[in-house]
Subunit: 320 residues, 2 copies
C-alpha cells in the first residue's frame, strides 16, 4: 500500500477565512451504486470520508485520510483536490479495488437495504496519519470500525475537538472498542435508533444523557428529516432539518451534516457549545443540499454563498 | 338533551389581554382511561374539546361546545369554569353517559391501541352553537366527524379564522364530507401519516401543498415529538417540539398544541402567517407541558408565566 503523492492544490481559491483552522477527516472512500424509486446511479463517488470532507471544505481547509484502490479515477482525485482537500493522507492500495457499495432505497426514501458490499482496499485499512497532520486541531472520525478510530486517536497530538460517528453494526459487534472511543472523544454523532440501541433506553433524551456519561462532552443525535438533538454541558436542544421537498438520494446526508458542522467549527476556530449549535445548523443545511441529487452532484454545484442564503431562510424560519 | 345553564365564571382572573378575542372550540368531552408502561389512570378528563379549550384558556376567553352525559362530575364542570371557559354551549344528555375511551400505549409511548370505546352521549352529538357564540371570531373545530364540523360551520357568522383537526378514520370513511370541510376552513391540522393518507403522496411537503390546493390557506402537519410543519401563503417551514425527557402520557398532545395555537392567535387578534408561526410555538409549548403528566394534571399546575419561561428557553434554543 503506497501513500499517494498528491498534495493540496493551493491554487483553488475557496471563500475560507484566512485564519481558519484545519480539519482532519478520517473515513471511507467508496464507489456507491444507488437505486431509488425514481432513478439510479452506478459507481458514483461515496463514502463517509468523502462526503464528510467535501461538506467541510465549504468552511475550512480539510485533510482527508482514507484508502482507495487502483481503480479510483483521476477525475475523482481532481474533484477532491479542486475542493482544496489535502489528499496526502489517502493511501492507494495497489493490488485492490476501491470499497464498493450497492444499495436500494424504499419508496419513501426513509430506509434502504444493502444489496452488495465489497470492502476491497478498505478491508485492511490501517490509517496512517501523516506526521504533518497529527497536530490538526479539529478531527472528524467519520464512520469506520471503532478499532480504526482508536488507531487514529492514538496518533493525534493535542487535538482541540474530536468528534466521531458510528453505526449500529459496531454497537452490536465492537461494543468494547466503541466504549473506548467514547472515553477519548469530545463529541459523538449517532442516530436515534442507534442511541437507543447503545444505551437500551427508549427515551432519546435519556439516551443522549446516558451517552454523555460514557465520556463525550457533546452528543448529537441525528434524526434524518426530523433534525438533530444536541447534548452539551448546558443541557439539551433540538434543531429541525431544513425542509426539502424533492429528496433525490439520502445517501451521505449524515456524513454531510457532520462534515459541514465540523468544518464550520474549524473555520471559526471555536469549541464553544453556542458555536457548536450554529455549526449544527450549517451541517443541516449542507445535508439539505446533499440530498437534492445523487452522490456529491448537488454539493458540486453550490458555494458558500448558496449555503449562507439558505441559512438566512433557516434563521427566518426559526424566528418565533 | 338539555343545554347546561352554566355560564362563564368571570370572577377568575386569568392573565389574558383585555382586548383578546374569543375562541370557539367544538369537540369531544370524554372520560379517558389510560394505560402506559409505568402507570395508569381511570376515567380522567379527556376529549379533543376539553384539551383544546383548556390549552387555549391560557391565552384567550374560550367558549366550549360539546356534549357530556349525566355522569359528568361537578368537579369537572368547576375545573373548566375556573379556567374561564364558557360552558353555555355544552349540552347534557340526560339519559346517556359521557363518551368513554380506554387506551394502552406501547412501551416507547409512540403508539397506542384502543381497548374500549363507548360513544354514549357523543353518538348523537348535534352541535348547537348558542346564538351569542355564532359570531365568535376564532374557531377551532377539534377532532369530530367532518359531518359535525360542517354543521358547525353552517352556524358561524363571518368568522375571522377557522381551523379544523381531523383523523385517519374520517379520511377512510367520510372523505367527501372531509373534502367539503377543507373547502370551508382557513386551516387544517393533520398528522404526517394522515396527510400522506389523504393525498396519497409520500413526501410530507408535497402532501401539505396538495392539501392547500384542496382549500385551506394554512396547513399544519403535526409530527408529535418531531415538531410540526406549517404551510402558508409564503411557503413551508418547520418548528421542532420542545424536548421533554419525562413523557408520562401523550394523550391530548395534538389537541393541546392546536388549542394553544388557536388561543394565542385569538388572544393576539391576528390572522397573519408570521403570528401563526409564533402561535404554533406556543401550541408546541403547551403540548410539551401536557405530556408531562396524565390527563390535564400538568396543565392544571402551570400558568401563563410558566409558558413564557419555557418560551424564552425555546427561543434561545432556536437561536443559531
Amino acid at each position: 500500500m503506497a501513500v499517494a503523492s498528491l498534495s493540496r492544490n493551493s491554487n483553488i481559491a475557496l471563500p475560507i477565512h484566512p485564519i481558519a483552522m484545519s480539519l482532519l477527516v478520517v473515513g471511507s472512500i467508496a464507489f456507491d451504486s444507488i437505486q431509488t424509486p425514481k432513478d439510479q446511479r452506478e459507481r458514483v463517488m461515496g463514502g463517509s470520508g468523502t462526503y464528510g470532507s467535501i461538506a467541510a471544505s465549504f468552511f475550512a481547509p480539510v485533510r482527508l485520510v482514507g484508502v482507495v484502490g487502483n481503480d479510483w479515477p483521476k477525475a475523482n482525485w481532481d474533484f477532491l483536490l479542486n475542493r482544496g482537500i489535502d489528499l496526502t493522507g489517502v493511501a492507494v492500495a495497489e493490488h485492490a479495488k476501491t470499497f464498493y457499495w450497492l444499495g436500494r432505497y424504499t419508496p419513501d426514501l426513509c430506509d434502504r437495504e444493502t444489496l452488495e458490499i465489497e470492502l476491497n482496499a478498505f478491508q485492511h485499512f490501517d490509517p496512517v496519519i501523516p506526521h504533518a497532520f497529527r497536530d490538526t486541531p479539529y478531527v472528524f472520525l467519520a464512520n469506520t470500525p471503532p478499532a480504526i478510530q482508536l488507531r487514529v486517536i492514538d496518533q493525534l497530538k493535542n487535538p482541540q475537538m474530536v468528534f466521531a460517528d458510528t453505526v449500529d453494526l459496531w454497537i452490536e459487534t465492537m461494543r468494547p472498542e466503541l466504549l473506548s472511543v467514547l472515553r477519548r472523544i469530545d463529541g459523538l454523532l449517532i442516530n436515534d435508533v442507534e442511541a437507543r440501541q447503545l444505551t437500551e433506553l427508549d427515551n432519546v433524551i435519556a439516551a443522549g444523557k446516558a451517552i454523555q456519561r460514557l465520556g463525550p462532552t457533546f452528543v448529537i443525535i441525528k434524526r434524518g428529516e426530523h433534525g438533530a438533538m444536541f447534548f452539551g454541558p448546558d443541557g439539551v436542544g433540538v434543531l429541525p432539518s431544513y425542509p426539502v421537498e424533492n429528496i433525490v438520494d439520502p445517501t451521505g446526508a449524515g456524513d454531510s451534516f457532520a462534515g459541514g458542522m465540523m468544518g464550520y467549527l474549524a473555520g471559526l476556530g471555536s469549541t464553544s457549545p453556542t458555536d457548536l449549535k450554529t455549526a449544527m445548523a450549517y451541517g443541516a443545511l449542507v445535508a439539505s443540499f446533499a440530498v437534492e441529487n445523487f452522490s456529491i452532484e448537488r454539493l458540486e454545484q453550490i458555494d458558500r454563498a448558496a449555503i449562507e442564503k439558505r441559512m438566512a431562510s433557516y434563521r427566518a424560519m426559526l424566528q418565533v
